[in-house]
């Protein structure tokens, strides 16, 4: 696989504070890689270094085999970026903003290209509205239009579906997957773990400026061995809670429903123990660990698993 992005021992210090602490990773052509981590982990600093807005203290960034020092224009011509944390010109209409952007990217036939992306992201209904009059969700969609204007080879997406209604978020995820099919490489940050699980081939988990885990979303989720067993009780709720307490399993009760968290190796012990006590339940379900569980666990412990 050709590496589109190579980050090698990247360090960024602001005075005595180390925001990014020697991270290294590669992203291959056509890959979608998630950059996850709690607030302040170093994700945004990393993204801004990839955009050349922040100069690394040391380390190396290679995009398309090129370096910013001598090839800034070439790199940015083939790259695009979308974030919910930046804005376009408020007094300009959506159309005007996109036209300016298309011209900055030297898009051939800019008007035709704008029509195309506007159609893809359902922006047509407010294309002539001023940017400042849009809702946050509409702004996010406009930014995604902008991000696809130059058909980038590498796309950096910072929270691409924040503030979007579920149906629009679904549309965006579909477009991201279509873009991958067309060979686009995407680095994505998101707090929506279900989204990351759905679209990302690989996840880099960053905390305190270091990459503390790197794997597929499924494999990372498997590293959380704690699962939740949900019972709808018929008889023996008190005995169940008492058993869980003695065994040291965290348990919660809500009406007739009891949820017990156990290590997956202890499921058999839990079920046989409840059977021995004569507990009766109408329904049982097991919640497997998700990437979100992994995220929460990693954020709490602040290090590797």
């Amino acid at each position: 696989m050709n590496d589109i992005l190579v980050v090698d021992h990247l360090i960024k210090k602001f005075g005595t504070f180390t925001a990014v602490d020697g991270i290294s990773f590669r992203v291959g052509k056509g890959e979608i890689v998630g950059l996850l981590g709690p607030n302040g982990a170093g994700k945004t600093t990393t993204i801004f270094m990839l955009l050349d807005f922040i100069a690394p203290t040391s380390g190396n960034i290679e995009i398309f085999g090129l370096h910013y020092k001598d090839h800034r224009g070439e790199i940015l011509q083939r790259l695009n970026y979308s974030s919910t944390y930046v804005e376009m010109v408020p007094r300009l209409t959506v159309w005007e903003n996109l036209l300016v952007m298309a011209n900055l990217y030297l898009v051939p036939h800019p008007k035709g290209k704008i029509q195309e992306v506007v159609g893809r992201f359902g922006v047509g209904a407010f294309i002539n509205k001023r940017y400042e009059d849009l809702s946050q969700g509409q702004k996010t969609r406009v930014f995604l239009c902008k991000a696809f204007l130059n058909d980038p080879d590498l796309l950096l997406l910072d929270e691409p579906t924040a503030s979007l209604d579920p149906d629009v978020a679904l549309l965006i995820r579909k477009e991201i997957l279509v873009a991958r099919e067309n060979g686009m490489t995407i680095l994505i940050t998101s707090h929506n773990m279900a989204e990351v699980e759905e679209v990302c081939d690989r996840v880099l988990f960053i905390n305190h400026g270091k990459i503390v885990a790197e794997d597929t979303p499924e494999e990372l989720a498997k590293k959380v061995r704690q699962i939740r067993v949900n019972f709808m009780m018929k008889d023996g709720q008190k005995r169940t809670m008492s058993f869980a307490k003695k065994a040291g399993f965290p348990a919660t009760a809500d009406g007739r429903f009891v949820t017990i968290s156990v290590d997956e190796a202890d499921i058999a012990y839990l079920l046989s123990g409840l059977a021995d006590l004569g507990v009766e339940y109408g329904e049982i379900s097991i919640d497997k660990p998700t990437l979100e569980d992994y995220f929460i666990k990693m954020s709490r412990i602040g290090g590797g698993v």
């Binding site: 602001f14 600093t45 801004f48 955009l51 807005f53 922040i54 224009g73 970026y81 376009m88 900055l104």
Partner: protein
């Protein structure tokens, strides 16, 4: 009205002012500048041998030429701060556009605005005060270019400061013209300034442009050597400003100011 809350507002201003040198600068700067300019102008008037008609013409000529500077000195810095205020800066500079392209684009727009506003200004000066552009003659062309270029130079300097120090230096966008004004000898000759101020004035290209404007209007002709010196100083300061802007851009990339200011 709750005076406790009023006190809190005062407290907020007090905290932000005492931690911000540039805000203190704003408080003391304007009164000093006003006093300086009009004080010297009053002394000049009381000693002036120039008749009333010529004096008015010279004042209007000074105002017209100075307006080239005030507009140009805000062009680049104001457009950049506008990008930052609207949080469009990152969006803009994540495209392949370079700082040089941005500055040139801004200067081009500045030229267009300048031409329109100057035509209007000359027209109004003629209608209301009978001031005719011919009183300056063809000298208007080199002097307007020279003064405008110096305005852009200082605008680049302010932009560079902005990249380096952030929003706290916003005040300079409006103050820079007033800072240069007393030493540029717009309304009075160089000789009207005290000695120490004359030294500063001689380092500014604007001084020579306004001195020669008065020479031209009073029929004493243009001193070519002074004009050459003015353009030489202009070129020198422009190069310094470009260098400072580039260095400040790199500095802002290193300390994260490019992102923080957005």
């Amino acid at each position: 009205m709750n005076w406790m809350r009023v006190g809190a507002i005062i407290q907020k201003f007090w905290y932000s002012t005492r931690r911000d040198t540039f805000r203190l600068f704003d408080i003391f700067f304007w009164p000093v500048i006003e006093l300086f300019i009009w004080g010297i102008f009053s002394i000049f008037l009381s000693k002036s041998q120039v008749d009333g008609v010529n004096l008015v013409t010279m004042l209007l000529g000074g105002i017209v030429l100075w307006s080239f500077f005030t507009r140009a000195s805000k062009d680049i810095s104001l457009s950049m701060i506008d990008e930052l205020w609207s949080r469009n800066f990152i969006n803009l500079f994540s495209t392949p556009v370079t700082m040089g392209e941005y500055v040139v684009g801004t200067i081009f727009v500045g030229c267009m605005k300048l031409i329109v506003s100057m035509i209007l200004m000359f027209f109004l000066a003629y209608v209301f005060y009978g001031f005719h552009i011919s009183s300056i003659g063809f000298y208007i062309i080199p002097s307007a270019i020279g003064i405008t270029v110096f305005g852009w130079t200082l605008s680049m300097f302010v932009q560079a400061c902005f990249l380096r120090y952030g929003h706290t230096v916003e005040v300079f966008i409006w103050a820079i013209a007033a800072l240069v004004q007393p030493f540029s000898c717009i309304f009075y000759p160089l000789s009207a300034l005290p000695g120490w101020a004359q030294t500063i004035a001689r380092l500014l290209p604007t001084t020579y442009f306004f001195e020669n404007m008065r020479n031209q209007m009073t029929g004493h002709g243009i001193r070519v050597g002074e004009l050459a010196l003015a353009f030489g100083l202009n070129f020198f300061y422009l190069m310094l400003a470009i260098l400072f802007l580039n260095r400040s851009f790199d500095h802002a990339r290193k300390n994260g100011n490019l992102v923080k200011n957005n």
